[in-house]
Each structure stands twice: as C-alpha cells, then as structure tokens.
C-alpha cells in the first residue's frame, strides 16, 4: 500500500442538544403515529358526544382494551422474533373456560391461585407451540394455525356446550372485573403493568434484545451464538402465559364463559400489533406500540358504537382505519429513513 492519504479524523463527540434529540426521537417513534390517531379519534367522538369523555366512559374504554392489550403484548414478543402465534384466541378460550370450571367446582379458590392456574395453563399451551416451532424448526404460522384448531377443539370437547355463568363464580373473583383502584379499573392496571414489565424486559435485558436480533436476521443470530431455539421457545411460553392470563381476565370481566370465548380474536391481536408498529417480519417494534394499537382498535369499536355509525358500516370503517394506521406508520418510517439517508452514515 503505497498510497497513504491522511486518514479521516476520529469522530468528534456528539454534542447535540438533548432536547432536539428528544424531539427527533419522538418524531421517529413509531408509536407517535398511533397516539395521534388515537387522539384524533377520541376528539372527533367527544365533539359529537361529550359523554364519551365521562369517567365512566373512559373506564369502559380502559376496561375494554385490557384483554386485547395483554394479548397484544404477548404477541409482540413472538412477532419480533419473526414468528407469530395465531393460537392465542384458542388459548384464551381454554384458559377462560378452565377458570370458570375451576371456580364453579371449587368456589373457594383464592383469586391469586386462579390467576396462576390460568396463566400456567396458557404457558403450557405456549410451550407446546414453542417446542414445535423451536425443536422441529418449522414456521410458526403453520404450527399455530394448527394449534389454533387443535386447542379450540380440545376446549370444545371439554366444554361440550356447557356454559359457566356469573352465578357459578364467586363474587370476589368477579369483582376483579369491575373493581377500580383510584378510579382506574383493576383489569386496566393489570394490562398496564404487563405492558411496562414486558416492555422493560424486551428493551433492557440481553435475552429481550436477543429476540429482536433473532427476528432481524436469524442466520446472524445463530452465528452470534444466540441460543435461538431457547429464546424462541421462551417467547412462545410468554405469549401463551399472557394469553392464559387474558383468559382469566376475560372470565372475570364477562362472567359468562363457554368454549367459544375469544373466537377469531387472533387476527385482531395481530392487527393490534401491526397497527402498533410492530414489523410483521420481526426485528422491530415495541410492546408499547402494540398496546397502543390494541387500545386504538378497541376505541374504534367503542366510538363507532357511540357515534351510532350504521352498524353495517362499522366493520368497514374498522378495516379502513387499520389500513390508514399502517399507512401512516409507513409514512413515518419512510420519513425516518430519508432523514437517516440525508445524514449519511459517516459522521453523525
């Protein structure tokens, strides 16, 4: 090497004002779009009907979103590792029915035990999914589409058309679905805690970051010595456990459970995550976004009911809004990418 021009100097320490950086991040944050959409939706609805902002109404909103939020959080953990769990609805149904059965046969069971049992059952289902996906190394969509049918079938054969009614369950348990803490429904608090804990885990722990790495580039993950199978398995167990928890919450909230609880909710859950900016092919997105997505979807449902949109139009509007949400998210992502390109990678 004879040509030896002056090497570029080491980069200067970055001295951006932290404020501009914060604003920049905020703009980049994929969650931002959803917050805007949510705000607009609430605003429009409230202008039409101020009662939409009444405490009872807001409580209802929070309550309504709780189950979907818990499911979406679990789903996010799976999706960011480039998998998907379509069986969550069936797991929810199974756990909800198990909860009802347990309480109607042993009404004295403490609520904490019920929660543990439901969550544990979900975790077992998740472990089945995880084991199949991780050990047999097959696409999760196929496996969980299969277990969606299978778990639901098990649920149905167990229930045989029975229904567990509110009167069969102890009041102390049902209170979980209606009680509030400082005006906030307990279910919503649980959903919030789940979101924060899982979000913190995925953001700040090695094993959490490894899920992102796996989803971003599975080959590289293997080469970096990440225990891909074990991590994926764990994410499915987590997703299953949260679906089980969601089943318990479902039972508490609705009081009536039969084998059909949660039928078809899986697409909603995936939609919530996607609307919340979780990349469907893994690697990016956050549980906070997914939780917001779930909140947005349930709010859409509620506001359409409040706005007394022709019921025939409701579903069409929901679909349109999903498209709008992912479109908006895309727009923000492109904007961010352009910014990156403009700055160039060399020298920040």
């Amino acid at each position: 090497m004879s040509a030896r021009p002056t090497a570029p100097a080491a980069p200067p320490e970055r001295a951006d004002g932290s404020r501009t950086r914060f604003a920049h991040r905020l703009w980049l944050a994929r969650e931002f779009g959803i917050v805007v959409a949510l705000g607009l939706l609430v605003l429009v609805t409230a202008v039409d009907n101020p009662a939409f902002l009444s405490p009872q109404s807001l409580r209802d909103l929070a309550l309504g979103a709780a189950v979907l939020v818990v499911l979406a959080v679990g789903q996010t953990a799976v999706i960011i590792s480039r998998n998907v769990d379509l069986s969550v609805g069936a797991v929810l149904g199974l756990a909800a029915f198990a909860t009802g059965k347990l309480l109607s046969s042993a009404p004295g069971t403490p609520t904490a035990v019920v929660v543990l049992v439901g969550t544990g059952l979900g975790a077992v289902c998740g472990a089945v999914n995880g084991a199949l996906v991780a050990a047999a190394r097959v696409p999760a969509l196929v496996i969980t589409l299969g277990t969606l049918y299978a778990f639901r079938g098990v649920d149905h054969s167990w229930a045989r058309g029975q229904q567990v009614n509110a009167s069969d369950m102890p009041r102390s348990f049902l209170a979980l679905g209606t009680r509030t803490v400082l005006g906030v429904p307990v279910l919503a608090v649980i959903a919030l805690v789940v979101t924060l804990v899982v979000g913190f885990y995925l953001r700040s722990y090695r094993s959490g970051r490894e899920l992102y790495a796996i989803g971003s580039e599975p080959v590289a993950a293997r080469l970096s010595g990440i225990a891909v199978g074990r991590r994926v398995f764990t994410s499915f167990v987590l997703c299953g456990a949260l679906a089980g928890l969601a089943g318990v919450l479902y039972a508490a909230r609705f009081g009536t459970v039969d084998a059909t609880a949660g039928t078809g909710i899986e697409l909603q859950v995936v939609a919530a995550a996607v609307v919340g900016g979780v990349a469907i092919f893994g690697g990016s997105g956050s549980v906070h976004g997914a939780a917001l997505g779930a909140l947005l979807l349930t709010t859409i449902g509620s506001s359409l009911a409040v706005l007394r949109i022709n019921p025939f139009w409701q579903q069409a509007v929901v679909g349109g809004l999903i498209l709008a949400a992912i479109g908006l998210d895309r727009l923000l992502a492109v904007r961010a990418a352009n910014r990156l390109r403009g700055r160039s990678s060399h020298g920040a």
């Binding site: 090497a7 080491a10 722990y205 090695r206 080469l223 970096s224 010595g225 690697g283």
Partner: protein, 504 residues
C-alpha cells in the same frame, strides 16, 4: 523468532469436513502462534471458509481436532468458540439490520448495570471508542440497515475486536475495503498481535497477505498443501501452489479502438447521495469508477440500472433514454449490472445454480411462452462452464457454493444476456487470483467485442490495470477524470480523498 517449537496457541490438526458428497476440507493441519498473523490462502472453494466455520463452532468437524494451548477443544456452537476466546469475522457480514450499530457489536454480551439491565450509554461509548480506533466515523445509534458492504464489514471488525479475543479469525475482511480502511485494520491487527493474540487472515490480495502475515498456509481442493514463513515465499510460488499451475497476466488489458457511445449519463442527481454525475462510455471501453468506500459509486450504478430512483438527470443506452426506476427496461435496452452484494442482490440463495444462472434470460429461453427443462439446463451448463464455476450438481442450491463461485454465477447470469453495456460493481470481490485473471480477461474480451464496460472497484491495481479511463468519485461527485496514461495510484487517491490541486 523461535516460535517454531513453542506450543501453538491454537492448532488445527487433521480436520476434515464434508457436505454430503462434497469433501470441503480434508485432513488439514496448521498451527496458529500467539503474536503472529497467519495467512490462509487458496482458490475459491478450496475450503478456507469451511475451516473458519469449524474454528467458529458453526461446523463440527467430521474428524480431526482443534487444540487450544495444547488441549483438545470441543466447540458445541458459536457461543462456545467465543467463550474459548476465538473471535470470527465471517466472509459475509451477518448483521442485524433492525438493530443499532452499537447493539450489533455487543449483541449477547451488552455491558450491563445492576440486575442485568443493559447499560446503553456504556455500549455507545465503547462502540465509539472502537470506531475511532479503526478510524471510521459511524454513528453507533444508526440502524445497520442500509450500511454499505464496507461499513458492514467494519462493524463486523469492530465486533470481533471488542471481544478482545486471543484468537482472531478474519475471513476476507478486506474484500470490500479500500486502502485507507485496510491500513487501519492492519494497524489494529498488528497491535493485537503485539499483545500476544493469534490471527488467522484470509485474503485473495497477496500484497495484503505479504504485508501483514508472518506465516502462510496454502490449501487446494480442501487439502493442505504447505505451511511456511512468509519471508521464505514469493507471490509466484504461492500462486503456483494454490492453482497448481502458473497464472497468466493478472491484467490482460487489450487495447481496443472505442466505438460509438453506448452508455450516457447526464446530470444524474440523488439528493444527499450523489450529484451531477455525467459520463459516457463507448463500445469497447472500460471505464472505472474509483473512490473511497461510501463515495457513492454503488449508488450511482444502482440508479443508472434503475434499481433506485433519482431526482434529476438522464440515462441513455445507445441513444435511447431509460425510464427511471425500472431495471426491466434497462435489461431490455441491453444494460446489465453485476451488483456488489451477491448474497442480497446477486443471487437467490435457496434456488439452484441452474435457476440462478438463467434467471435473467427466462423470456428468451422460453418457447411459445413455456419453459422446458432441457434448454435451461443446457444454457446454465454452458455459462457455468465458461466461467469455471465449481459446483456439484446444477440442481444444488447456489448458497452451498463457495463465495468466489457464487460471484462467478452472478457474472454468468449477466454475461449470458449478452449486454451492450455492462456495469460491474466490485466484480472480483472475494475471487481468487486464478479466477480474477479469468474475469479480467473476460471483461477485456467483452470490451474488445464492443461491450461498454463500467467497472466499480475498490481495488486500485484492478482499476489501474483494467481501465481505459478512471472516474474518481468523492462524496457523491466526480472529482477527476483520468485517462489511462494519467491514472496513477497517487492521482486516484488524491482525487478520491477530495484533495484536488495537489500534484500527483
């Protein structure tokens, strides 16, 4: 130095590895001594990367052992290799596109605070420190997506350095780098050696091998040929051992009388990437685009070919204006682009060699709109033969070929279209010396045959040896146009670093 008889830090002893019927590595042995850089050379497909993957714990050897400090070392996986103090830079960068550069470097071993929480600040400053040591300016916070191959390679290097490993294995780390980065890398590597680390270095560039390494092992067809101190060897000797014969001239440039203008680019601009690029290439000419890594050469090539859209400018092939953003139109007009990233852009890894080789010519190969197996296979066999692609069966997935052979498949699939104008982006990246001569001869013959060739290359000798004219890019602008006579290393480098006016 009296290391001959000391226990090597790491020793490869009698290692064999085969994939199905292909014996990729057969009974290979060599020592890696602490404080020494050891070169591993061989033709494409000789089994170098396979050895690397054995050292990395990716492949379990079928037979043979690794000895670390004289003790047998069993690697259960990449994590085990890392734990044993072996850091590996793979031939193909394997980054996580969605994660930040810093996180890519530290994945799986991020610095942590109390309760296992990741310490992002420490991670970022550590990354910055590594980059400044390598003399590159990469923002540790940006995602890895969109990094050029060179930048990706630099991140890989930073990752390996950050491990502070006792054994550093580098599989063609310099293939995508230009002189400046290479020098930086070597400086860092020498410093590591001084600290007692052992380095295994793979490259097809002999100047690098000879400037960095103290010892050299040659492999051929998966078998060990020789291990000697570099001081006892000459390039010709090494090449002969590698190839088993003498290699004709590396740059067999034929002089051709240029014909009509075939490819014409005017005022091509893409905001933030390149601006006001103008050049024209005549039939029979080879025009090189030179520049430092990240100068925007590949971006220009992509825009010309229609992969990327541009903000302003015109591209003409044989006088016809090409619509922007449609590679299909470019192909129809007789333009071909051999991209720089063969894994992502050049090949469909899961598809067979045959399917890849014919992918650009599906329409011409069809009869009455239908494809029949025979014609495709014949076409594929013809072109893979011409380029000496080494493969087992045409039906094998192209991903199982060695890097150099993959590159040849990319070339084959484009040459088969018989283009009027050919853009090659780093055409010999990762190609062994024998084949390189082959590719150069090929490019030269193509030009002689009336094809207009644009060659993007980071390898200065290649640029100087092959080009009729050299265009030098600096930060997205053409800073110099040098005729064959004026194109010297100094002149190109000065223009590439933006130091105009300094006499070459």
């Amino acid at each position: 130095m009296g290391r001959e008889h000391a226990t090597p830090l790491l020793e490869v002893r009698g290692v064999s590895k085969s994939f199905g019927a292909v014996a990729a590595v057969r009974e290979v042995s060599f020592p890696l001594h602490g404080g020494e850089a050891h070169a591993l050379v061989g033709e494409n497909g000789a089994g170098k990367s396979t050895i690397v993957k054995v050292l990395a714990g990716v492949h379990e050897p079928d037979s043979g052992v690794l000895l670390l400090d004289g003790e047998e070392l069993r690697l259960a996986g990449p994590a085990a290799a890392r734990a044993a103090g072996i850091a590996v830079i793979y031939q193909e960068p394997t980054l996580f596109p969605d994660l930040s550069v810093a996180e890519n470097i530290f994945m799986g071993r991020q610095p942590s605070r109390r309760f296992g929480r990741i310490d992002r600040r420490a991670m970022r400053s550590e990354a910055t420190r590594l980059f400044s040591r390598l003399g590159v300016r990469l923002d540790p916070d940006r995602p890895a997506r969109g990094l050029s191959i060179a930048d990706q390679q630099l991140v890989e290097i930073a990752k390996a350095l950050s491990l502070r490993a006792r054994v550093l294995v580098m599989d063609e780390p310099t293939a995508a780098l230009s002189g400046v980065e290479v020098e930086r890398l070597f400086a860092v590597t020498r410093a590591l050696c001084e600290e007692g680390a052992a380095v295994l270095f793979i490259s097809h560039r002999f100047d690098e091998v000879f400037s960095l390494c103290q010892r050299l092992t040659v492999v051929r067809d998966g078998a060990w040929v020789s291990t000697d101190p570099v001081a006892d060897l000459t390039v010709d000797q090494v090449v002969r051992r590698m190839v088993g014969r003498d290699v004709s001239t590396l740059f067999p440039k034929e002089d051709v009388e240029p014909g009509d203008v075939v490819l014409e680019v005017e005022g091509l601009t893409k905001r933030g990437v390149f601006a006001d690029i103008a050049f024209s290439v005549r039939a029979g000419e080879i025009v090189a685009l030179a520049g430092l890594v990240g100068a925007g050469r590949s971006e220009v090539a992509r825009a010309v070919f229609g992969i990327d859209r541009y903000d302003a400018g015109v591209v003409r092939v044989a006088g016809e204006r090409l619509p922007a953003g449609t590679p299909a139109a470019a192909v129809a007009a007789g333009l071909a682009l051999v991209p720089e990233d063969r894994r992502r852009q050049g090949l469909v890894m899961e598809m067979s060699v045959e399917r890849n080789a014919t992918l650009t010519r599906l329409k011409p190969l069809a009869r009455f709109g239908l494809l029949g197996g025979g014609r495709e296979r014949r076409a594929a066999r013809e072109w893979t033969k011409r380029l000496r692609v080494k493969y087992g069966r045409l039906a094998d997935a192209v991903g199982t070929l060695s890097g150099g052979n993959q590159q040849k498949v990319v070339l084959a699939k484009w040459l088969a279209t018989r283009p009027r104008a050919l853009i090659v982006d780093e055409p010999t990246r990762g190609i062994d010396i024998g084949t390189k001569a082959e590719v150069h001869r090929l490019l030269s013959r193509l030009a002689a045959d009336g094809v207009a060739v644009v060659m993007v290359s980071s390898e200065l000798p290649e640029v100087l040896g092959m080009a009729d004219r050299v265009l030098v890019l600096h930060e997205g602008r053409i800073t110099a146009e040098l005729g064959r006579a004026d194109a010297t290393e100094e002149a190109v480098m000065f223009a590439a670093t933006g130091q105009r006016g300094v006499t070459a």
